[in-house]
Amino acid sequence: MAFEQVNSKVVRAQVSPATAVLARRGAMLGYDGQVTFRPVAGQGGGVGGFVGAALSGESNPMMATEGTGSVLYGFRGLHVTVIELNGSGSLTCEADRLLAHDANLQTGVEFIGQGGIRAAVRGAMTGQGLFTTKVSGAGAVALLSHGGTYAIPVDGGGVAVDPQAYVGHVGNIQVDLAAKVGWRDAVGRGSGEAFQLKMSGQGTVYIQASEQKF
């Protein structure tokens, strides 16, 4: 089951007893048929997942859409991108960018980048967080972005992304947060590009044409 793109900002999901949909709480715009909405806590994965979500700040209130019918989803006029996962690779994104996904997909909190606690602190400093949500399995995911997403292929190394513009990535990609903070940044004369996410490996990284977070 996939999401059908109504326009650039709204998707329609066909819900049946076999195919439930998990969506961001409050993102339902309208529906027809017999559909119920049930709040679900955390990212799944039991108590461990719940604690992980609370620790990392990657918690996103979700709801399960069950029943039979078609449901429209949208959020704050943000652009929606549907990404199909075929089960071989997983999608990594920030939790608050998840608009909806098939209920049979697994989500979990993942820590990206190396460097242990120092990297985590740096992630908190940039306001981006190196904690991300990993979506795996076969199915469709609807992602939110300000101004639409743009795919950049990663082949080998050498793609760097602004943490604020980063939306998510699929494939076998290593992410490392690189900080180049000099004295110029400290006195407010920096280039504004002190923090960058370095991508290497094989896959696709999605960015948005804006540095606005929501």
Partner: protein, 205 residues
């Protein structure tokens, strides 16, 4: 020669050892080996430029991007337009400049002090030289042709850029009605006379 290409709300700059200047913090992604550093006072124009910008309110913060690779810029999901300049001058609102290629010079042009009151300023930033300039707009740009005898009047809040041989005047429609809050909401407008093109955006700042 740097090539700037607009891709809807993104701007791609292909660098091969050159330097371009772009709005501070507007890089969203890059490949290759690119260095970013602050262009300095007045967006690289030095102390005099900084002073002029301060006075006119046309401040602009630019960074220098140099190296080789492809840099992608974007700002607030605004539409990007690339304009090629061949020795002529483009007048543009400073906050709409996303990137300028190496051979261009930025300056501030004053055309009267009454612009200060509108908050928008009749002082505009001018871009002169040989090269490319990328401007952002809230929605796709609309080009309005100005001919001799056919002046064009635009809202100062929607004005983005203009080029050609034109004179720009601020027309005030302030009356007692505006003062008591019963105005039409259009107390000021920009009037262009001469020959050239005015670019406006479908949104007001």
């Amino acid at each position: 020669m740097v090539t700037l290409t607009a891709d809807k709300r993104l701007l791609h700059a292909d660098l091969a050892g050159e330097t371009i200047r772009a709005a501070t913090g507007s890089m969203v992604a890059y490949t290759g080996n690119v260095e970013f550093k602050n262009a300095g006072m007045g967006g690289g124009g030095g102390f005099k430029a900084a002073l002029k910008q301060k006075v006119s309110g046309e401040s602009i913060k630019l960074m220098e991007c140099s190296g080789s690779g492809r840099v992608t810029f974007a700002q607030d999901a605004m539409d990007v337009t690339v304009i090629d300049l061949t020795g002529d001058t483009l007048a543009v609102e400073s906050e709409h400049i996303l990137a300028v290629s190496g051979g261009l010079t930025l300056d501030v042009k004053f055309s009267g002090l009454q612009g200060m009151t509108s908050g928008q300023g009749l002082a505009t930033t001018t871009v002169t030289g040989q090269g490319q300039v990328a401007i952002v707009s809230d929605g796709p740009l609309i080009a309005l042709a100005v001919q001799q005898g056919v002046p064009v009047v635009v809202d100062p809040d929607a004005f983005v850029a203009s080029f050609g041989q034109m004179s720009m005047n601020l027309v005030s429609g302030v009356s007692w009605k505006s003062l008591v809050g019963e105005g039409s909401g259009e107390p000021f407008s920009l009037r262009f006379e001469g020959a050239g093109t005015v670019l406006v955006q479908p949104a007001e700042r």
